[in-house]
């Protein structure tokens, strides 16, 4: 098993006719993901390398029944595209788009909760979801990961690749890598994804990669203590970030005395979660907990 995406995933992409959208859609298909369609208003009837394009999510649903949506449209259209996909009945929506206004994210989160409780949003401003060997939905470079028993959930893309690569070099692989994104109001939280990993048979350990801003890591700490039987190893970025400065991600900001890396690491450690000081140490702790380096696999391939 794995979580969220796998060999049964049927993906459709909003923004498939854009430069980035088409590039990554075709990458995902080349990886083996089943891409059944795309949505670009006004371009229905066209196709992208054989992938049919529809004018709306409703039409896409009627014609090719996707169960997963990937959102690649510009920020000002993203909120409506997400809600339209949910209204059409898509169960999982992965929003890659960066720069969506926070008030739009707030509206989307609350409309989904109220009107489409069955739909799950991952992102926005996230690298997507990869289940190695099964499906890739998003922009995660799959070549650094192999299939295995480590679940990864992260607010940052490149940091995930860094940690995942070190785990792979020690001979371990991943069940699923989930990027929940760096925005203030993500559709899915650490807790949402931890819950999935706890229930996933393939996952034996979870690596959680957090950063400054908000309180998602503190909430994850409480959840882990109360509900997780599997070990969780954590990393937090942003110990040197000054208060009041946004560090790249819209959500990565220390506000007054809240949201600091130190407080997050303390909260996790207080609940028995081991926190690595560097990405390398985090990967090393994960490998140690898994029982040391796996034999005969020095590199990710």
């Amino acid at each position: 098993m794995s979580v969220l995406v796998d060999e049964h995933t049927r993906l459709a992409v909003a923004g498939i006719t854009g430069r980035e959208g088409s590039f990554h859609t075709l990458n995902n298909r080349a990886y083996g993901t089943s891409v059944v369609g795309g949505v670009t208003p006004g371009k229905g009837g066209q196709n992208v390398e054989g992938i049919p394009v529809f004018d709306s999510w409703q039409q896409a649903m009627e014609q090719c029944s996707p169960d997963t949506a990937m959102i690649f449209v510009p920020p000002r259209f993203a909120a409506d595209s997400i809600l339209e996909a949910a209204a059409a009945g898509v169960q999982l929506i992965v929003a890659i788009t960066e720069g969506i206004p926070a008030h739009d994210e707030l509206r989307v989160y609350n409309v989904l909760a109220r009107e489409h409780p069955g739909a799950r949003l991952v992102g926005p401003n996230c690298p997507g979801i990869l289940s190695p060997g099964k499906a890739n939905v998003g922009i995660i470079p799959a070549s650094f990961f192999r299939a295995g028993n480590v679940g990864v959930v992260s607010r940052s893309g490149t940091l995930t690749y860094q940690i995942g690569n070190e785990i792979a070099q020690a001979g371990f692989g991943c069940s699923t890598i989930v990027g929940i994104g760096g925005d203030p109001v993500p559709g899915s939280s650490f807790v949402d994804v931890l819950e999935l990993f706890e229930a996933d048979e393939q996952t034996d350990l979870v690596v959680l990669s957090g950063e400054i801003g908000g309180s998602a890591e503190e909430e994850a700490a409480d959840y882990i203590a109360a509900h997780m039987s599997k070990p969780v190893v954590a990393y937090i970025a942003g110990f040197t970030a000054p208060a009041g400065k946004q560090m790249g991600h819209a959500g990565a900001i220390v506000s007054g005395s809240s949201g600091t890396a130190a407080a997050k690491a303390l909260a996790l450690e207080a609940k028995g979660v081991r926190v690595g000081r560097t990405p390398t140490e985090t990967a090393a702790i994960a490998v140690e907990v898994l029982g040391g380096a796996a034999v005969g696999a020095a590199h990710a391939d």
Binding site: P101, H103, D104, L106, N110, P141, S156, T158, Q162, A241
Partner: protein, 387 residues
């Protein structure tokens, strides 16, 4: 994007929240003219994006022209915790019967707007929250329905507002919520929200943060913020669409992806170094972007050594190497560089760098090693392997 007090008050006024009449000025003579216009006594307030203005001597009462001249002259150009005062806000002094507190913010945890109200305003609200949390009323608002009149009155009542100003406080809360909603604010705060002896409720201060991602909906707000105190390199970076935050150390840092850059700052600090900046070259960095980034890094004179930490996903390491080579040909940096390339096309990137044999560029194979090398170089110590 944080607004100066007077900019926040202008937004407040636009949404029907009462503020004192005032003028923003940049010179002593203009201050005198503004004071005459709004009427004595006036309050002269330094406009900077930092708390503790009063304690620093940046807020003064003036009864006449001579005092206005004196205070305005003293405050203009004053340094308040690293912020230079370029602008004064001159407003008619208010008589104060009570000082309340009100704010609307985005509660990231609950994913709802949060309205806060207290009758203990005029002081640090975090202290109130800690000392006597029962005196700070916190109520979530339905983000799809908005703040209702009943709820606003109830918040005022629960917070202990005087009975005769319940309606006035509710009006202020409603207007503040509209500011937050209509202007795409992430925070709209009034401290203090005053009650005058005539029982009028009015905002005496304003702290507003706007969402930079939503500015396309508010062209009239795009020129706000404290541009005079903005770091010139940060401003340049913004114009180029690059994420740059100036820090106070001497090691220039460039990486791709916000999380990896934050992590790089931490690892350098753990190795005993002091980062000079945060710079995220972003996903898909091409050679031209890298060249621009090198220029930004070196625009800070404090930088004694530079660390490039790249883990290529969408970003290709050969592109990064090409950008670095191009930058060196044009700029000829005087400080040493440590380069760590991993990920997509890393071998090709490393080969390009090796062939170019750039002066004073050192290759590192891991993030930790790179951090140790750059810290040694910044301290003027020699390190091994050249790129």
């Amino acid at each position: 994007m944080d607004l100066l007090e007077y900019q926040g008050k202008q937004l407040f006024a636009r949404h029907g929240l009462r503020v004192s009449s005032g003028r923003a000025v940049a010179g002593v003579e203009d201050a005198v003219a503004a004071a005459a216009e709004v009427g004595y006594p006036v309050v002269i307030k330094a406009q900077v994006l930092i708390g503790g203005r009063g304690k620093a001597g940046g807020v003064k009462l003036a009864e006449d022209e001579a005092q206005t001249r004196e205070h305005a002259g003293n405050i203009l150009g004053m340094d308040i915790r690293g912020h230079t005062v370029h602008t004064l806000w001159i407003e008619h002094a208010s008589d104060i019967a009570s000082e309340y507190y009100a704010s609307v913010l985005l509660d990231r945890s609950a994913k709802k707007p949060l309205v806060m109200f207290s009758v203990e305003g005029g002081v640090d609200i975090e202290e109130v929250a800690e000392r006597s949390p029962e005196k700070l009323v916190r109520r979530h608002v339905d983000p799809l329905g908005g703040l209702t009149r009943e709820q606003a009155v109830q918040i005022a009542r629960d917070g202990g507002a005087d009975a005769d100003v319940l309606e006035g406080v509710a009006d202020a809360l409603t207007a503040l919520y509209e500011v937050w909603l209509q202007e795409d604010a992430t925070l709209a705060e009034i401290n203090p929200l005053i009650v005058t002896p005539q029982r009028e409720v009015r905002a005496l201060d304003a702290k507003v943060s706007l969402d930079g991602n939503a500015l396309y909906r508010h062209p009239e707000n795009q020129s706000l913020s404290d541009t005079a105190n903005e770091d010139p390199i940060e401003r340049r970076a913004k114009e180029q669409g690059v994420q740059y935050v100036k820090l106070d150390g001497d090691i220039g840092i460039l990486g791709n992806g916000a999380g990896l850059v934050m992590s790089t700052l931490d690892v350098v600090a753990q190795a005993g170094g002091r980062p000079a900046n945060f710079l995220d070259a972003g996903g898909g960095s091409n050679a031209e972007k890298i060249e621009q980034a090198v220029e930004l890094l070196l625009a800070n004179d404090a930088v004694k050594a530079v660390l490039f930490n790249i883990f290529g996903g969408i970003t290709r390491c050969d592109e990064v190497a090409q950008g670095l080579i191009a930058a060196f040909q044009r700029i000829k940096p005087a400080v040493p560089f440590v380069v760590r390339l991993d990920g997509t096309n890393d071998r090709e990137g490393r080969r390009l760098l090796q062939e170019a044999a750039l002066p004073n560029v050192h290759a590192a194979s891991t993030m930790n090693e790179a951090a140790e090398m750059v810290v040694a170089l910044a301290a003027g110590e020699p390190v091994g392997a050249r790129a």
